[in-house]
Amino acid sequence: MNALLTALAGLRVPLAEHVLLAAAALALGIVVALPLAVWASRSATVARIALGLAGLVQTIPALALLALFFPILLALRGVFGPGLPTLGFLPALLALALYAVLPVLRNAVTARSHMDPGVLEAADAVGMSAGQKLRLVEAPLAAPYVMAGIRTAAVWTIGAATLATTIGQPSLGDPIFAGLQTQNWALVLAGCIAAAALALAADALLGMVERGLARRNRPLALAGLALALAGVLAAGIAARDPAQDTITIGAKNFSEQYILARLIGARLERAGYQVRYREGLGSAVIHDALTSGAIDVYVDYSGTLWANEMKRTGNPPAAQMDQAIAAWEKQTSGTRVLGALGFENAYAFAMRGDRARGLGIASLADLAGKGSNVTIGGDLEFFERPEWTAVRDTYGLGAAKRRNFSPTFMYDALTGGEADAISAFSSDGRIAADKLTVLADPKHALPSYDALLLVAPGRAGERRFTEALQPLVGAISVEAMRSANYSVDRADDKRSPQQAADALAQAIS
């Protein structure tokens, strides 16, 4: 209970950001939907096309829609120049606004098509111009229905805005995703409660406006509107942007990344920078986020960059790979690889010790020998990754059954028997803690995964910045990282990523 209250108290900024994002998206959605509705009411073809498109957008999962705006905006840089943000507020705003269009548009079009034809004929007959008819008759008669659509859109938008976290826009998804990752359920619950309460509050206030319009009770409608605007204004004040020269530190969606982000953040703060965090970014977007300057620094892994960014195959020794990556980054985008942190977070296949012994499996080759009698669990992206393809083809693992798990639940899947082997990470503290067997890779199918510190092109030449981070290079052993990860991931006596980062900083100094 106490943990929940603490978590709720810490939600001021995510809540404020969430309110601003949802309100802006809703407003943009309305601004798009209403003129479209007017046009659609004048033309059946436009109505069909607009409603069809808006309906199609609704069928795209919100998460996918948010992610799609990254490449779209990246492509639009050709038109608007490199200053166009591709992550954070803008793509989240656009995706959510698209989502908000349908309910408003549909209700407005429906309201218009159900309007009493006699009333519309009277409007013409008394000599109203098209504009007067819209303003004096159609708009006021449609208003309660449009308002009901806005209400629906508001609730959807507030719900979907939690996913904005995945494209680097702070929202109430921050505590939910971070909590899910670190198994901090109080944090997850706090985020959910806040999002639900926000949706209920918005629904109630907009409901006041709707009732006011339907009953022609102007004070009621204005009061609802004023309260809703006051809420947005309060959020604007609470979320005011911090100082100008703020460093944005990126992190992917697992504990190690959260911890390293805080470790980097602490060093930069000591060097006099303001820092903020963009956490929970997907592997696919975080590198582009760095090269485009949306984030200033993050930690990535050599094997990931080698396969996903450079599209290289083959498996050179670690040092050689790191060098090739540094050269490639410098040449293609001006990104600077400051160096390897010292530990490796390689893909590895782990099994329960007793199960591995029982089946007589010690290596990937042994695992392949079991054919379709074994189930391999992977995180959400693993089976799409070139590493899996390499392992599968090298050892002939194609017959094995596959299951996807959220990274958080993979170890539980292993202990619960839902998977015989999982894709694990060599720096994961749970390998030692759970006494897991890491399968050998005799044919070296898996590339090395040195943790590399990457600095955005815009900061690459900034000495104060690079000097603040230089001491981290080569300083973190895999044991230190495992222990930090485990302190966050374990079920009991959990540490926050910040606490783990502080402890890690102590351990390596």
Binding site: V119, A123, V126, G127, S129, P140
Partner: protein, 255 residues
């Protein structure tokens, strides 16, 4: 005939075709200033369509309509309609406005708003209590609503009043009373009135000229007196026969 020597309202070869069907078929017709003309005919005879070519709620496919010698096609639709009163069966009061706002809407959109006193006067004209001014339209009875409809149509002081089955949805008592109100206003305000109805008795009682339409054409044009005397042709007499038979039956019951 009007002051200028030309008819107040003239239809010249007016046709309206929907796909292959002619709703109105080359109608030529003059209507004198001050006339109360009833257009009678069965459903689908084209009488409403012909009426609406005057205020251009319907644009003719062919021919032209002259109002005071001016081709209405050359006038701006909104400006034209602000000069013409229009009352129709579904009444079409604006449900989100008060009675006063409904009555004053025509002058308001024309940029000459009415004050409360003027609205009260318009309501008295149609025999409504000015105290109803602040009510919402849907709080009134059907008969009261159509009285507001008439007041709205006449609020801006038009010379021409078009009525499309205006009493069609009302009960017989209300309909009779409202008919007399309209007839009184027609005389008092010096209106030229065109009334579309399928009820020959109503036409005979209210109008001073009755036109019968059939399949888009005018097949009879006579005064009520001529019609009652057996004139106007077969189509007209077939319609006159109905109220006449009813009157006879009623008279027979009194004996």
């Amino acid at each position: 005939m009007g002051d200028t020597g030309q008819p107040f309202l003239r239809f010249e070869q007016v046709s309206k075709t929907y796909r292959d069907t002619a709703a109105v078929d080359a109608v030529t017709l003059d209507i004198a200033r001050g006339a109360f003309v009833a257009l009678v005919g069965a459903s689908g005879s084209g009488k409403s369509t012909l009426l609406k070519t005057v205020n251009r709620l319907v644009e003719p496919t062919d021919g032209r309509v002259l109002l005071g010698g001016e081709d209405v096609a050359g006038l701006e639709g909104t400006a034209l309609r602000r000069r013409i009163g229009y009352v129709f069966q579904s009444i079409g009061l604006f449900p989100h406005m008060t009675v006063a706002e409904n009555v004053a809407i025509g002058p308001r959109v024309a940029g000459r708003p009415l004050d409360a006193a003027a609205v009260g006067e318009r309501l008295r004209r149609v025999e409504l209590d000015p105290a109803l001014a602040s009510r919402m339209a849907d709080e009134l009875s059907g008969g009261q609503q159509q009285r507001v409809g008439v007041a709205r149509a006449l609020a801006a002081g038009p010379e021409l009043l078009l009525m499309d089955e205006p009493f069609g949805a009302l009960d017989p008592v209300t309909r009779d009373a409202l008919g007399r109100t309209v007839q009184g206003l027609h005389r008092q305000l010096g209106l030229t009135t065109m009334l579309v109805t399928h009820d020959m008795a109503e036409a005979l009682l209210l109008a001073d000229r009755v036109l019968v339409m059939q399949a888009g054409r005018i097949v009879a044009d006579a005064t009520p007196g001529e019609l009652l005397a057996g004139g106007g042709g077969d189509a007209a007499q077939a319609l006159v026969a109905v109220p006449r038979a009813q009157a006879r039956a009623l008279a027979a019951m009194q004996l």
